[in-house]
């Protein structure tokens, strides 16, 4: 029996997910023996052609990490979709947009202008910008096009499963790959992580007070965080209650609040909205100015509640003005 063919690919991402896969590959050499990795740009020299030549559906599974920001990423995602029986969105960026999706607070034009013209470190007197039809020494470069926004994989192609995390833990990945190989396929669309929020497995859980009430919010650098007490109880915005567990509570164990990389549970459409709802409900202020004063402790609500999830949230991105003035 031929070994199942597997592909790994990265789109808009930091490379951390690839790192996890490398860790994993070392970890499960035995498993590698069971599969045939036919595409893995970060580690091996395959070409796009190699995939194009395969018959449709020939790949048992593709693991794609990173969000879709360019036409090239889109093209590769579509190609892999066509060739694969199963597509797994791997990591926060592929899942909900991830850190790159914070760019959805700015228009493409703003981004290009800053990066290629206004950034203090930029030296570009000709104000040249990369574009699909850039020329260098008379040769057309055919660069990929920068999309108007960052998209999670599922907004571009059909995704079968998602492994969340920034990056996903090796344990989760191992469990997911094993399940796939053994044909223990969960329902299509599943996120392959526990559906209970992080607090359940948080080492600080026992310290949670029964009367969780906020008078103000602070960021971790504004106080000496007690390493044993629930961070929320200390007024630090911890996304734990609104975030899937399965991460091993690494951040909270490192005395940092959960920032939400595992995304919401299946019962929630919009992680940020839910966290906001809960925090506000438990704030004690009643007068408008008191309320606003308390929220000064959350100077960047979008960055706080949608650190990883802006592109995958209900509203997806910042909108441009709705009417001509």
């Amino acid at each position: 029996m031929p070994k199942p063919k597997i592909a790994f690919y990265w789109c808009a991402s930091c490379g951390g997910c690839e790192e996890t896969v490398v860790d994993l590959a070392e970890d499960i050499l035995g498993l590698v023996a069971k599969v045939d990795i036919v595409f893995w740009p970060v580690a091996m020299d395959f070409k796009k052609d190699d995939i194009e030549r395969l018959p449709d559906g020939a790949l048992a599974a593709s693991f794609i990490n990173g969000a879709v920001r360019t036409s090239e990423q889109e093209e590769m995602a579509r190609l892999l979709r066509r060739k694969s029986a199963v597509v797994v969105a791997y990591g926060s960026c592929a899942h909900l947009g991830g850190i790159p999706a914070l760019a959805n607070q700015f228009s493409r034009e703003t981004i290009l202008r800053f990066v290629y013209e206004d950034a203090p470190t930029m030296d570009n007197p000709g104000r040249t910008r990369p574009s699909p039809d850039s020329y260098d020494s008379g040769n057309r470069l055919d660069l990929p096009k920068l999309h108007s926004q960052v998209r999670p994989l599922a907004q571009v192609i059909d995704v079968d499963y998602t492994i969340p995390g920034c990056p996903p833990t090796p344990a989760l990945t191992r469990e997911a790959v094993t399940a796939l190989l053994e044909g223990r396929l969960p329902a299509k669309g599943s996120v392959l992580a526990p559906d209970t929020a992080l607090c359940e497995s948080c080492p600080r859980k026992a310290s949670k007070p029964a009367d969780l009430t906020f008078t103000r919010f602070r960021r971790p650098h504004q106080l000496l965080v007690d390493p044993a007490t629930c961070l929320l109880a200390q007024g630090v915005v911890c996304m734990g209650p609104a975030t899937r567990g399965g991460c091993g509570a690494l951040c909270v164990s490192g005395n940092m609040p959960c920032t939400g990389c595992f995304g919401p549970t299946s019962r929630v459409k919009d992680q940020g909205a839910k966290m906001l709802s809960s925090l506000c409900a438990n704030l004690s202020a009643r007068e408008t100015d008191e309320i606003d004063a308390a929220f000064e402790g959350i100077p960047d609500p979008v960055g706080t509640f949608y650190r990883y999830g802006l592109a995958g949230s209900l509203l997806r991105r910042r909108i441009e003005h709705s009417t001509t003035p």
Partner: protein, 175 residues
């Protein structure tokens, strides 16, 4: 982003999704009806027992599904049938507005009003006022914008047009 600028047709009238609490504002809207007050027909009311039930997801989802504005109505502070629900809503609203502003939404898109069961006329005034403000702002049309955005994609985005798009990522619902 010129493609995103939407010019409303002359007859365009904004669609408002309103979440009214059962005890005060919903009853006030009933009173407006009983008193035959006239207001703009673009508003559609969803009844909740208390403004405290209003999950910010509902606001986002209404916008996401094509509302031009969202109106939230609750009992006056101190009058909540469940004593505190409206304060919880007030706090959500304050932060929500800031968050929405950061995402480019004008303040007038989402409005919170305390309207007691006796203030039928207030319903009329608020709906008409909000309708006028939204008319001045023009359509939000988030579904339209999303398909506009997606035109840069080589193929159709999965689940783009219809209701399935309501869920940001397709997922199984828990058993």
């Amino acid at each position: 982003m010129p493609s995103e600028i939407i010019t409303p047709p002359a007859s365009w009238s904004p669609r408002i999704v309103a979440f009214f609490c059962n005890w005060c504002t919903y009853t006030a809207a009933d009173l407006a009806g009983v008193s035959r007050m006239k207001y703009a027909p673009g508003v559609r009311v969803i009844r909740l027992m208390c403004s405290g039930r209003l999950d910010p997801q509902f606001v986002f989802d209404a916008l996401r599904q094509g509302a031009d504005g969202v109106l939230i109505g609750g009992c006056h502070p101190g009058d909540c049938h469940y004593s505190e629900g409206n304060y919880r809503m007030l706090r959500r609203f304050r932060l929500l507005r800031r968050l929405l502003a950061d995402l480019g939404y004008e303040d007038a898109r989402v409005r919170l009003e305390w309207i007691s069961a006796a203030e039928g006329d207030r319903v009329r005034v608020v709906v008409n006022e909000m309708t006028e403000q939204l008319r001045a702002l023009g359509p939000l049309d988030l579904p339209g914008r999303i398909s506009e955005w997606n035109r840069e994609l080589a193929g159709n985005a999965p689940g783009a047009p219809s209701s399935a798009a309501a869920s940001p990522v397709p997922e199984v619902s828990h058993a």
